[in-house]
């Protein structure tokens, strides 16, 4: 009797669990589909299939040679096709979409050169940084300070700071200084989050950045000897966070 009850309970539990298991499998499938949509860009994929289906024929024919050239140059196509899709969603005219994709391709090419050797995520992050006004020299300096590890996080943090209103020069100096002193990517992200919190509390962004950066710097090791070429792409100048004026 006890055995029958136990078996019945086991089977009932199994039946109840089955839908949950199926849903979990669906979740895994959806995760995979997101990944495939992002990572569909490889040499074997026909370029035409990467463009959004609702793109008009004129825009499509204008974009195809741009994308072919980008693939030859080793640029990640996903960012370019996504830019085209964004234009379609926002109702941009054909010429505007082509211009936007062309401009992004040029930025990615510049970033690829400045960050060489660069992986796709770094190229995209470098292009984003250039789009908000970060200089090519800063990209080179960041690579110089992180020659063997990915620099997409420092670039993303820098881009975000500039996009939120910090002058590109100030933000670049602080990020470079933090990298020079050995700040981890986690510290950089924490810095950005802390600045976000300060902004939400009403503090001026420059003041928030300077204070938070000084806090991080105070936890890092001693300042190393100046690197040949200096910060900001030359001149041998060494700049501390104190030189970034706050107001």
């Amino acid at each position: 009797m006890k055995y029958t009850t136990r078996t019945t309970a086991l089977l009932v539990g199994f039946v109840i669990a089955t839908p949950a298991m199926m849903r979990a499998q669906d979740a895994v499938r959806s995760v995979s589909s997101t990944a495939s949509s992002v990572e569909a860009d490889n040499a074997a994929t026909p370029i035409a299939t990467l463009l959004p289906a609702n793109l008009d024929a004129v825009t499509r024919s204008a974009l195809l040679p741009i994308l072919r050239r980008a693939r030859e140059q080793g640029l990640p196509l996903t960012a370019l096709t996504s830019k085209a899709a964004e234009g379609v969603l926002r109702g941009m005219p054909s010429q505007r979409i082509v211009s936007a994709v062309t401009a992004l391709k040029e930025r990615m090419l510049t970033a690829q050169s400045a960050l060489a050797p660069a992986e796709a995520t770094e190229i995209k992050a470098g292009a984003d940084a250039l789009s908000v006004g970060v200089s090519v020299a800063t990209l080179r300096d960041i690579r110089q300070r992180r020659p063997s590890t990915s620099v997409w996080v420092p670039l993303a943090v820098l881009t975000q700071l500039v996009a939120q209103g910090v002058p590109a020069t100030n933000a670049s100096v602080i990020v470079l200084r933090l990298l020079e002193r050995g700040a981890s990517t986690q510290q950089l992200v924490n810095l950005r989050n802390a600045v976000d919190e300060d902004i939400s509390l009403g503090k001026p962004i420059l003041m928030a950045l300077d204070v938070r950066a000084a806090n991080v710097l105070s936890t890092l090791g001693p300042r190393p000897l100046p690197i040949s070429g200096g910060e900001m792409g030359g001149g041998g100048a060494t700049v501390t966070s104190a030189t970034v004026k706050t107001h």
Binding site: V31, S32, A35, S82, A103
Partner: protein, 218 residues
């Protein structure tokens, strides 16, 4: 005052308690073991094959019972499969229903938030392929359809529709995103709008506002 406690007289567990003494005497009067009976039981137990002795465990299950159990389990699994698919298809059809009746612009958004694994580290786990589960939230009580779009899904407004419980104000969705800085926006009843809870950034190529998140591996 608790009357149920006060109605019982206090009883001492000492040997001079007559009731207790009666119990003790009764137990003492049990007959001694019968050696013949004990010997008979032990002999019978030793004579039986080891596999048939239970020793407190269940008896072995016959082949026909195993077959019947497996058959029942398979049948119930099929039933569960069908039920699961029904549940799933119902959910999908309800989503489709909400997407076919978009209203015009002007839906008020009281608060919106999107947080990456940086903030929701405790809720995050690494997904297959290095993707990071990222939660998007939007409080739009009067919206009938909300989706999130961005460079992670090709700005496709049908790719990632947010869910919300009936009568709930909040729309949510968890997306598996690759590490990187992503631009995104919400599509609220067909209107592309940046995340008002996150500082907007200007897209220089289209000269429009968007929101940005940095997704890192946990």
């Amino acid at each position: 005052m608790d009357k149920s406690h006060s109605s019982f007289p206090e009883r001492s567990p000492l040997p001079d308690d007559p009731a207790l003494q009666a119990v003790v005497e009764t137990l003492r009067e049990l007959p001694p073991d019968n050696p013949e009976a004990v010997n008979h039981i032990v002999t019978a137990a030793m004579a039986s094959p080891l596999s048939e002795r239970s020793f407190g465990f269940r008896k072995p299950i016959g082949l026909w019972r195993v077959t019947a159990m497996l058959g029942s389990a398979a049948a119930l699994f099929v039933v569960g499969l069908i039920v699961g698919q029904r549940i799933d298809s119902n959910n999908r059809s309800s989503q489709a229903m909400s997407s076919v009746a978009p209203t015009s612009a002007g839906v008020p958004i009281t608060a919106v938030s999107a947080r990456t694994n940086e903030v929701l580290a405790a809720e995050s786990h690494r997904a297959p392929g290095g993707l990071v589960p990222t939660t998007f939230r939007l409080v739009a009580p009067r919206a009938s359809h909300v989706a999130v779009v961005g460079d992670f899904n090709g700005w496709n407004p049908t790719a990632n529709i947010l869910d919300h419980a009936t009568n709930a104000r909040e729309w949510t969705g968890v997306l598996a995103l690759p590490p990187g800085r992503h631009l995104y926006a919400f599509v609220v009843d067909g209107v592309v709008t940046p995340d008002p809870d996150v500082p907007s950034v200007r897209d220089p190529d289209y000269d429009v506002l968007a929101s940005a998140i940095i997704v890192r591996e946990p």
